[in-house]
Each structure stands twice: as C-alpha cells, then as structure tokens.
C-alpha cells in the first residue's frame, strides 16, 4: 500500500508544479450570448472567430462556430443548452475541434469529441488530429489493389472490397446492415487492420450490444467505437463521422511524409464504419434549419452533398512513396421502402465505389444476408479480389441472375423442360450457398471451396434444405481433416496465387465431402 508516501513528498511535488507554473496575463477574445435555443446560441462579438472553431461558454460547455454572419455568430452547442443564458460570456479558444488519436483509443468507446464514455478512465495519448482534414490529392493516391476480406461469402465473391475502397451498405431498416459491418470488423482479426465503428443516432443499448459482440469475438482490442447516440445533441451526431475518420487517419498517414508521417515507415490500414449516414444527414438538416440556412430538396441544406463527399473522400489508398496506408470506409444508409432514388441515398451512391443492396423481402424469406446480387456492385474491388475467388466466382453472378429470371418465369409454367429444371435446381442451391449466419466470417478457403462446389454441380444431389448443413460439414472438415490444405490455401492467397495442384486438391476434397455427406443422409 501507499504507506511509504510521506505528506512532505506530496507537498514537495505540488510545490514543484506550482513553481514551474507560470501565468502571465491571458488575452482572449469574447462575445456575449444574444439568444439561445434548440441547441444553437447566437453570439454577439467574437469578431475574429473562424468557421469551425471551438468556443467556450462561461458555464464550461463548448460549442462550434458554424455560421459567421454580419452581426452575430451561430454556435452549435455540445451539450444541454439549458445551462446557457442570455448575456453569458463566450470565449474563443483559437483551436479547430480536434480529437485524441493513437493506440490508446483501441478497445475504447468515446464520444464525438474523443472523450471516453466507457468508464475505463482517461485516454492517455499525446497525439491528436483535427476532425476536419483535407483529403489527399491525386498524386498521393494509388488505385485500390489489396483485398479487404469481409468474411461474408456473397460480398467477397460478388462485390469484393479492397483496402481504400468506399463500399456503401444500403437497405431498409432491420435488413442486417449493421451485422454485415460488424462481421467485417470481426474478420479483420490478426490482419493488421485497425477498426473504427461510428454509431450515429442509434440507441445506447444497440451500441452496448455491438461492443459486447466485438468483445466476445476478441475484436474490441483493435476497434474504437465512436458513439453519438440518439440522445446526444445534433452537433455531436453531425461531427462523429469526422472524428472517427481523424482517428483512422492516424494509422493511414503513419508513413506519409506529405501528411506528417515518417518516411520509410509503412502506413497502417484502417477500416471505418459509419452507421448510419442517414441519421447524420438528419442531424445536419436539423442544425442547418435552426441556423436558418436555406432548405433545399427534402429540406436538406444545399451543402449536404458536400458533407458526405468530403467525408468519404478521406478514405484513401496511399501510394508507395506515402507509406501505402489505407482507410477503407463502409458507410451505411437506411432507405424507406427500398427507395434508393431518395435524395441522400442517390448522393451517397454517387460518391462511393459501389453498393451492397439489402432487401427486406429477401431477409423475410430467410435469405440472409439479404443481399440483392443483381443490384449490388463494386466498381473497383475487382482489382483487389483474390485470384482464387475471381476464378471460382466468375460464373456465380451469371448463374444467380439466370436463376432469378427463371424463378420469376417458372411461377407461371406448370411443367418445365429438363434443362430449365436443372438450371432452377442449381440456382436454388446457389442461393443456399450464399446464406451465412451472423458473426461467423469465413476464410477465403472456406468460401472458395463452397462456391466451387456450388458452381461445379457437386451439390446437385444434395437436397436444397440440406445445403446449409453441408456448408457446416465442409467448413468443419476444412478446419480439422484438411487443415494442411487450408494452410496451403492461405499461403497462396497471401501470394495471390491459385495453382493447378491446389485446384486439384480442392476438387478431391469437395468430392469426398459430398460423397460422405450424401451417404450420411
């Protein structure tokens, strides 16, 4: 215990602190609150305040200067506006809002300003970054080329995601959007990717649940959760994605001389999930309307496109000379009744490198993850897909498309010719192959073997409703009996190889698994 600490020592240390403390006159600029309400304060004075600067109210609350007008400044308040009254003094801080960054944040839950809210004590880090940061230019970038395995079969096969890509997850409420993102985070274990989950406008209970899930799968240790929940003030919900991105940039720019990193150091990789940007734009709409900015379509302000484009442009794959770091973004958008042509969805679709479209009809029919393979695309991920997956999944998209067409048609036809029937049967099995449970990301070997079995007809003799248990058996076999093969596969994936020997071995494994499974039925 601390019995050997003497009171004199405490005094001595404090005395030292006081001696070192030097305080001359402080000069600062002030203003006075003219009016306050709905989380917005109008401040008179603050003549030289910058847009985006933090200001401090006399009661200790902070705010963000958003509107600089001729005779007053519109300030968004980070907290309860009840504590602020007319005539209260407001001070400039001369700093743009910034958040702490670095390893100390991993495994933590913080608010939009980087303050810990998980009760695990203060965050000890010396690093910080401004929450708004200009995206890198063209010269510093490189096109996406390394895969970022999501661990979700359908995505890795049909809409692959590469490091530095921005892939939108879009769908109605309760269609498994969050689940896809969380599974992707879980799958980054041991892959050297730092993850950031930005929860905007969600219930606190949901955030707790996600933290629990991540912890259970050992994923919290490389993840930071930035939470601006439904009860937090609108400015916090608006800022949270920018704060999260600033934290991710810490890793990405480690090796970038242009952006404050050290030359010769390898840049880190980060994955950031914005869950969801619909709520963020709603928070921004609220702020803008209260600041009396003119409303446009759907009452969103004119610059709502820019709020998202400048955010998503910060996702980047840096060139070799800049350390080759990356930030991959998975923004989430919630649609109403599958309407992707509403204002915010079309905006974000146009900024991102592709979208994963989830449908409630599929979800309710038990096809989970409820990805609509026809409408989902990845515009750049193809270059980042592993060779094995590219070879195997080549025909999957076509097969699924044909199946969808036939399935619609066959509802009217009473009897079908054998060729059509065969194609339908295969399609049904492929749809089963696409199914995957929650929080069980799969390795490339598992995904490729299963899709190989499906597209090459090894599942034709297995009843449709048994395909899911076949999947389980195959995965089991791959991690026990054929462990050597899985390891070899992983090595080839790393070298971006897919040798003939490996294919032959895979065919044998699939064949024998199918045989043993069929006989056990």
């Amino acid at each position: 215990m601390a019995t050997d600490i003497k009171p004199e020592e405490v005094s001595a240390i404090l005395k030292e602190q006081f001696a070192a403390f030097e305080s001359g006159a402080q000069t600062y600029e002030t203003g006075k609150v003219l009016s306050v309400g709905d989380g917005i304060a109008r401040v008179y004075g603050l003549e030289n305040v910058m847009a985006g600067e933090l200001v401090e109210f006399a009661c200790g609350l902070q705010g963000l200067a958003m509107n600089l007008e001729e005779d007053n400044v519109g300030v968004a308040i980070f907290g309860e506006d009840k504590q602020i009254c007319e005539g209260m003094e407001v001070k400039r801080t001369n700093t743009i809002a910034s958040v702490p960054t670095g390893d100390a944040l991993l495994g933590r839950v913080v608010d939009a300003l980087g303050n810990p809210i998980d009760g695990k004590g203060p965050i000890n880090t010396e690093n910080s970054r401004p929450i708004e940061f200009k995206a890198p230019g063209i010269m510093e970038r490189k096109s996406v080329h390394e895969p970022l395995q999501t661990g979700v079969k359908v995505i890795d096969a049909l809409t692959p995601v590469g490091r530095g890509q921005r892939e939108l997850i879009i769908g109605d409420r309760k269609t498994g959007k969050t689940t896809l993102a969380v599974d992707t985070i879980i799958n980054q274990k041991g892959k050297g990717v730092q993850c950031f989950y930005v929860a905007i406008g969600q219930k606190r209970s949901t955030v707790v649940q996600i933290a629990e899930t991540l912890k259970q799968h050992g994923a919290l240790e490389y993840t930071t959760i930035i939470a601006a929940t439904a009860s937090d003030p609108a400015p916090m919900q608006f800022l949270a994605p920018y704060s999260g991105t600033a934290m991710a940039e810490h890793y990405c720019y480690l090796g970038s001389p242009t952006f404050g990193g050290t030359e010769g150091v390898a840049g880190g990789h980060a994955l950031i999930v914005y869950d969801d940007l619909t709520k963020q734009s709603q928070a921004y709409r609220q702020l803008s309307l209260l600041l009396r900015r003119p409303p446009g379509r759907e009452a969103f302000p004119g610059d709502v496109f820019y709020t998202h484009s400048r955010l998503l442009e910060r996702s980047v794959k840096l060139s070799e000379s800049e350390g080759a770091g990356s930030i991959t973004a998975l923004p989430i958008i919630e649609t109403q009744a599958n309407d992707v042509s509403a204002y915010i969805p079309t905006n974000v679709i146009s900024i991102t490198d592709g979208q994963i479209f989830l449908e409630s009809d599929l979800f309710n029919a038990g096809q989970r993850p409820a990805i609509n393979a026809g409408l989902s695309v990845s515009r750049v991920g193809g270059a980042a897909q592993t060779k094995s997956m590219k070879k195997t999944a080549g025909t999957l998209r076509l097969d699924l498309a044909q199946y969808r067409e036939l399935a619609a048609f066959s509802q009217f036809a009473s009897d079908l010719d054998p060729a059509t029937r065969a194609q339908l049967e295969k399609g049904q099995r492929l749809m089963e192959v696409c199914k995957q449970g929650i929080n069980e990301p799969q390795s490339v070997a598992e995904q490729v073997c299963l899709i190989y079995a499906g597209t090459n007809g090894y599942l034709n003799d297995i009843p449709v409703d048994k395909v899911v248990s076949y999947t389980a058996e195959l995965n089991e076999a791959l991690s026990t009996r054929y462990k050597d093969f899985s390891d070899k596969f992983a090595v080839e994936v790393k070298n971006d190889d897919f040798s003939k020997d490996l294919i032959a071995e895979m065919t044998d494994i699939v064949k024998s698994t199918t045989e043993s499974f069929s006989s056990s039925l």
């Binding site: 602190q17 305080s23 006159a25 402080q26 000069t27 600062y28 003219l34 008179y44 004075g45 003549e47």
Partner: protein, 179 residues
C-alpha cells in the same frame, strides 16, 4: 449590446450629416443625453417602441418632450426617425452615434474591472500603457467585481486582457488537471 443594423445605418448617416454641418459636438451631447434618458426611463422606452401610438401623435409628444431642450439638428433627426417609424431604435442610434464619434476621434473605450477600487494613478498608468500599445486615445470606465479576488481585467471591445487572480487560479487548476 448594439445589434440593430438599421440603427447603425441611421447613425452613420446622421453622423456624416452632422459632421458636414459642423454640429458634431452639439448633436453628440444631445444624443448622449437622450441615450441616458432612454436607459433610465422605462416609460420613454415603451412609448418609443409601441406600435400602437400613431405617427402624428408621437411627433406631437416628442416635440413637447424635447423641443427647445435639444438642438435643432438633433430634433430634426428625431423627427426624421419618427417619419420612418424607426423610433424603437432611437436609443441605439444614439449609442452608435457615440461609437462613430469615438472612431473618428481615434478614441478607444475600455472597461477595467478590478476586485478593489483602483486609484486614479493606477488607472492613469494602465491608460498610458494601453495608449502606447493601441496607438489610440483611451477612455476608461471602471467596474468592481469582487469575484476577481485580485488583479484586474481589461476589456477592449471583444478583446479581454485578463490579469486577475481568478483567471490565474483557473489556469493553474487546468494545468494540474491536464498534467
């Protein structure tokens, strides 16, 4: 606090007109008296800003109140404001007028807040320092605020120079908390 844009415009116009007429000092004195009166009398304020009083009625009353007591130029300005239905901002116009006068004369108003009353030599010393620093004639007003504990605080417009004990204690606290 001066917030009305209209008041600023009128004050500016009156200021340059008074300057042209060479009546600046006279109007300034009248307007200062008016501003003081408005600050003291709630009744005058509500009368000036009430939309229920008709324009000609208001003119009559204004005349009976001020005619003869203030200069003809100031009176004509007030009549003009009445005609434009801008009497609610009359007090602010007067205050802005003073601001423009000070600006033209290169005078800077400062407020010195201290925990205890400062002696005139102390105030003079501060004024001299500020004059050298800002290159302006300083007109200081003083306030007492015991919460400062000691030292003083100078407000120059929005700019504050804080040399109070409270501020230093606060920053000491910050440096310990954040250490």
């Amino acid at each position: 606090m001066l917030t009305s844009k209209a008041a600023k415009r009128y004050a500016k116009a009156f200021f340059s007109l008074a300057q042209d007429k060479g009546k600046l000092d006279e109007v300034r004195a009248d307007f200062n008296a008016l501003a003081q009166l408005a600050a003291q009398s709630e009744e005058l304020k509500s009368f000036l800003s009430s939309p229920l009083v008709a324009q000609d009625k208001r003119l009559e009353l204004l005349k009976s109140l001020f005619e003869g007591k203030i200069g003809a130029t100031a009176m004509s300005f007030i009549t003009f404001l009445n005609e434009k239905d801008r009497t609610p901002v009359l007090a602010e116009v007067c205050e802005y007028f003073e601001v423009f006068c000070n600006e033209a004369a290169n005078v800077q108003l400062v407020t010195i807040t201290s925990a205890q009353e400062l002696s005139s030599t102390q105030i003079k010393a501060i004024e001299v320092k500020l004059e050298a620093k800002l290159n302006k004639t300083i007109k200081a007003s003083t306030e007492i605020d015991a919460a400062l504990l000691g030292g003083f605080k100078i407000a120059i417009g929005d700019q504050v120079i804080d040399h109070s004990i409270t501020a230093q204690l606060n920053s000491l606290k910050q440096s310990i908390v954040n250490a």
